[in-house]
Each structure stands twice: as C-alpha cells, then as structure tokens.
Amino acid sequence: DTAVSQTPKYLVTQMGNDKSIKCEQNLGHDTMYWYKQDSKKFLKIMFSYNNKELIINETVPNRFSPKSPDKAHLNLHINSLELGDSAVYFCASSQDSTGANVLTFGAGSRLTVL
C-alpha cells in the first residue's frame, strides 16, 4: 500500500478551468501538507493542516483552496487556472506539526495549464 497517494498523477487543462487534486495518507499521521515544485525544481510549501485544522497558509492566491475532510485526507482545489499554475504539486504528511518529524511525500501531480 502506498503511504501517501495523490490523484491524478497528471492533469492537462485549459486556462480558466477549475481542477482538484486529492491526497490520502495511511500512516496515521496528524499533519498533512501541499508543496509546489516549479520548473526550476524549487520546492515551496503552500498549506499545512494538523488534525483537519489549517496551520500554515502561505502567500498563495485565493484561487487555491485546500480542504481536509479528515486527518487522512487533504485535497487541493484550484479555480480559474493560470499558466503560472503549471507545476508539480506534492502532498506530504508527518507524524505531527513540530517540524522535528520526517515528511513522507506522495509521487506528485503534474499540472499543465495550456
């Protein structure tokens, strides 16, 4: 069983559309994250949830809306997609939110906006 699984793995869509990426972890972790990796491979945190509560909300356009229905799931919805949203989005989880624990990453969801 994959520890952190994201779907879909690839998304290709037109500007202006809305899309969602789903993430699930079966590790029993309390904390989940969304990271964005751009074309230069730079990795930046977007959001973090601890037990379904939002604890990190970086300077991200409000077109991006995370939702955590329970602590095992963290979804990312993106409205009105723009060219600059093209990137690989990684979901991750950790045991807690102290920053001392290892992050387990999903395989990534590559979003291409045309």
């Binding site: 952190v4 230069k40 491979k41 730079f42 990795l43 930046k44 945190i45 973090s48 604890i55 990190i56 990684f90 991750a92 939110s97 102290t98 920053g99 001392a100 290892v102 992050l103 387990t104 990453f105 999903g106 395989a107 990534g108």
Partner: protein, 114 residues
C-alpha cells in the same frame, strides 16, 4: 538571509569517489536539519536528519552528514559514490522564525559518472 542555502547547482563526481553536497543554514534557535533525495518523476525521500545529539548523522543508502554549529553547515557526504546516487538532493531546515515550517534549499543535482 535565506534560512537554508545549497551553494552548488550541480555536483559531478566519478563512481567510487567520495561525494559532498553542501548545505548551510541561518535560523533562530537550534536548527532541525534534514536531507531529502528526489529521483526523476518521483516524490522526495528522506535520507537523514539532525535534531540533537551526535553531530555525525548516518542515514539511508550509506549517506551521512555532519552538523557543524560554528560553520552553520550540514553537508551531505558519502565515502564512495554510485551511479545510482545520481539525483536531486534537498537540504531543509525548520526555522522557528516561520513557525514549525520546513524550508527547503534550492536543490543540488548530483551526477555520478562511471
């Protein structure tokens, strides 16, 4: 100053030779330091971490890193490189200035040639 810096975009080394991938940090308080590796089209995988204790930390796949407080460095090392070590390596630090958020360096591409 950046919380974490990886001064080399790329490191080239011959198979069998020792390798070093550099990382320096600038944080408030005691740093929590991590190394992750990313293979092509994959998510990041944890290699090792320093939280407290021995300055020399041993991790997965024969990698190790030394925490050097005076030089604020946490360089990744391996005594004998393998071609299969070729990947993108990220150093990360928990910076209390940003809560418990993990800040990633820009990444260093390691190329091991046979």
């Amino acid at each position: 100053a950046q919380s974490v810096a990886q001064p080399e975009d790329q490191v080239n080394v011959a198979e069998g030779n020792p390798l070093t991938v550099k990382c320096t940090y600038s944080v408030s308080g005691n740093p929590y330091l991590f190394w992750y590796v990313q293979y092509p089209n994959r998510g990041l995988q944890f290699l090792l971490k320093y939280i407290t204790g021995d300055n020399l930390v041993k991790g997965s796949y024969g990698f190790e890193a030394e925490f050097n407080k005076s030089q604020t460095s946490f360089h990744l090392k391996k005594p004998s490189a393998l071609v299969s070590d070729s990947a993108l390596y990220f150093c990360a630090v928990r910076d209390l200035k940003y809560g418990n958020k993990l800040v990633f360096g820009a990444g260093t591409i390691l190329r091991v040639k046979s």
